[in-house]
């Protein structure tokens, strides 16, 4: 099992008020599965991704990723786990604009203490896979949205993760680039990476691979 969630709750407190963001979430993701979490803005899908990535801790409930109780581990283990096992792609790409493409892609390898020479080789391989090897030494600030998205994917897969989390990955792309993105993650899924995409974009209906679809509304999974 890649992700195993049972009766998961997440709430935030502000003064005397409690905001329940996620309510009684139950979810399973098996090896090589492709899950699409659909919902409008504020429905709680990004929070769910953050919890699965171990960037936040739940209020209650079981949350296991790759067999590890990720929400309960000490911080240093969560960071190490995320760095080696989980890739992430964000809506705004979250690249460091003043760094070159290859430096951005090499960044996730730093906490894994991989030698610089090996890290460079791994980064070039990832860039090659996304057909942007020629951009390696270019500064990110000079890239188009579509190119930035590819760099973000290269950075997400450079550590060869078992699980890829994508938060609104097509929100900043035009339709043509969004379709290219779909093709790329389909390939990654076929290569054995389990994928969860949180989106409200209908373009994901066009995916060719078998997907599992969950609708999330007001913090609850409403249908499958």
């Amino acid at each position: 099992m890649i992700v195993d969630i049972k009766h998961l709750y997440k709430s935030y407190e502000s003064g005397n008020e409690t905001f329940e963001v996620l309510k009684d979430i139950n979810l399973e993701l098996k090896d090589r599965e492709f899950l699409i979490l659909k919902g409008v803005s504020g429905s709680g899908k990004s929070t769910l991704l953050s919890l699965i990535a171990g960037m936040e801790r739940p209020t209650s409930g079981k949350l296991e990723v790759l067999g590890e109780p990720i929400a309960k581990l000490p911080d240093l283990h969560i960071s190490a786990f995320r760095a080696s096992k989980i890739g992430m792609i964000f809506q705004h790409f979250n690249l460091i604009e003043s760094f070159s493409v290859i430096d951005n892609v090499m960044l996730p390898l730093v906490p894994l203490k991989i030698k610089l020479k090996d890290a460079k080789e791994m980064a070039l391989k990832a860039l090659n896979r996304l057909n942007i090897k020629e951009l390696a030494n270019k500064d990110v600030k000079f890239l188009s949205g579509g190119q930035k998205q590819r760099v973000a994917i290269a950075r997400a897969i450079v550590t060869k993760p078992k699980l890829l989390l994508c938060d609104e990955p097509t929100a900043n792309l035009d339709r043509a680039n969004a379709k290219i993105f779909l093709e790329l993650i389909e390939e990654l899924n076929k290569d054995g990476i389990s994928i969860i995409v949180a989106t409200h974009d209908n373009i994901f209906d066009e995916l060719q691979v078998k997907t599992k679809l969950l609708h999330i509304s007001q913090g609850q999974i409403v249908d499958e």
């Binding site: 801790r57 209650s60 409930g61 581990l73 000490p74 240093l76």
Partner: protein, 322 residues
């Protein structure tokens, strides 16, 4: 209220200690809750909430360790600074001996710092081990450290409120001097025998650490602390002061002696504390913190070199020993 509390050094010290007591109270609440309710396998709201509190407790305990160390240094400085208000006192030695709480207060402060250091080491092991295998054990150590902080608080207040500013106290010469032919050294030792034992214990301590003969380290450590104390006060200190009659563990922490006393006692305390923490970790956790052992050997060696260098430099400068 004792007029001493109006002194700026004392009031800053008491205020800081009061803040650390409040933090210790918070820590006590978290620690007791953790000991009673901790269940790593539970996914309940209470457990997640407790894990958050533990994080706060961890930061608080690390902060307290730093604060307690700084406050110990500051206390010694304060005791020296207020010696001018206490009749008869020439340095912190006289001030500490102003009532029976003084030495106990200092002793408990060293114990608190040691316990907090031990807790931090156990916590490091626990966090690195992923699933908190020694969680409750480490919390019990923290509980003892917190109790030590409360005892400290009681002794701090008792000590400062019971200093009589009108009653004369003894100066360091009276307290530590060789009065009326009385030998202040334990077991009626003479200086040469004491130095021989000091050297032998130091070498034994280092060898035991290198060969990792753990049980004997617990025996050697307190003996080495005791013999070091007497050796510094009754032999090495006289070379720091360059005066054979000046025997005091506190004066060397004054500006006139370049505050060297802080390094002398600091290297001894941390050298021995690290040795004990390494030994306890090795026996209890079955883990070999080589860095801690190396730090201990380095600090103990520095302690001996620092003290011996004063004797050597005096001899090279003057051609004679004191």
């Amino acid at each position: 209220m004792n007029r001493l509390f109006l002194n700026s050094y004392v009031s800053v010290y008491i205020f800081s200690e009061a803040v650390s007591l409040i933090l210790a109270l918070l820590l006590l609440y978290i620690t007791i809750k953790a000991i009673i309710k901790w269940d790593f396998n539970s996914n309940s709201k209470e457990q997640y909430s407790l894990e958050k509190s533990i994080y706060l407790g961890s930061i608080t305990s690390h902060f307290l360790l730093i604060v307690k160390f700084i406050l110990l240094v500051y206390l010694v400085y304060t005791l020296d600074a207020i010696s001018i208000y206490i009749p008869g006192a020439m340095c912190a030695a006289g001030v500490v001996s102003a009532n029976s709480y003084g030495m106990a207060m200092l002793g408990v402060k060293f114990i608190t710092i040691f316990l907090l250091m031990l807790y931090v080491t156990f916590e490091k092991y626990d966090l690195e081990a992923k699933y908190y295998p020694i969680f409750k054990q480490r919390e019990y150590i923290l509980l003892v450290a917190i109790l030590s902080i409360f005892i400290e608080g009681f002794l701090d207040y008792s000590y400062f409120s019971n200093i009589n500013l009108d009653a004369p106290v003894s100066c360091c010469s009276t307290l530590y001097g060789n009065l009326e032919g009385h030998n202040p050294l334990p077991f009626n030792l003479d200086i040469k025998s004491m130095l021989l034992i000091f050297g032998l214990l130091f070498i034994s301590f280092i060898i035991l650490l290198i060969l990792e003969i753990k049980a004997l380290i617990f025996i050697i450590a307190p003996l080495f602390v005791a013999i070091s104390y007497y050796s510094v006060v009754y032999f090495f200190g006289t070379y720091i002061y360059e005066l054979p009659t000046h025997k005091c563990p506190f004066c060397m922490m004054q500006k006139e002696y370049y505050y060297v006393g802080y390094f002398v006692w600091g290297t001894l305390f941390f050298g021995v504390a690290f040795a004990l923490i390494w030994t306890i970790s090795k026996i209890w956790l079955k883990v070999d913190y080589k860095g801690i052992k190396r730090a201990s050997i380095l600090l103990l060696t520095l302690f001996v070199i620092l003290n011996s260098s004063y004797v050597l430099i005096y001899y090279l400068k003057n051609g004679v020993f004191l």
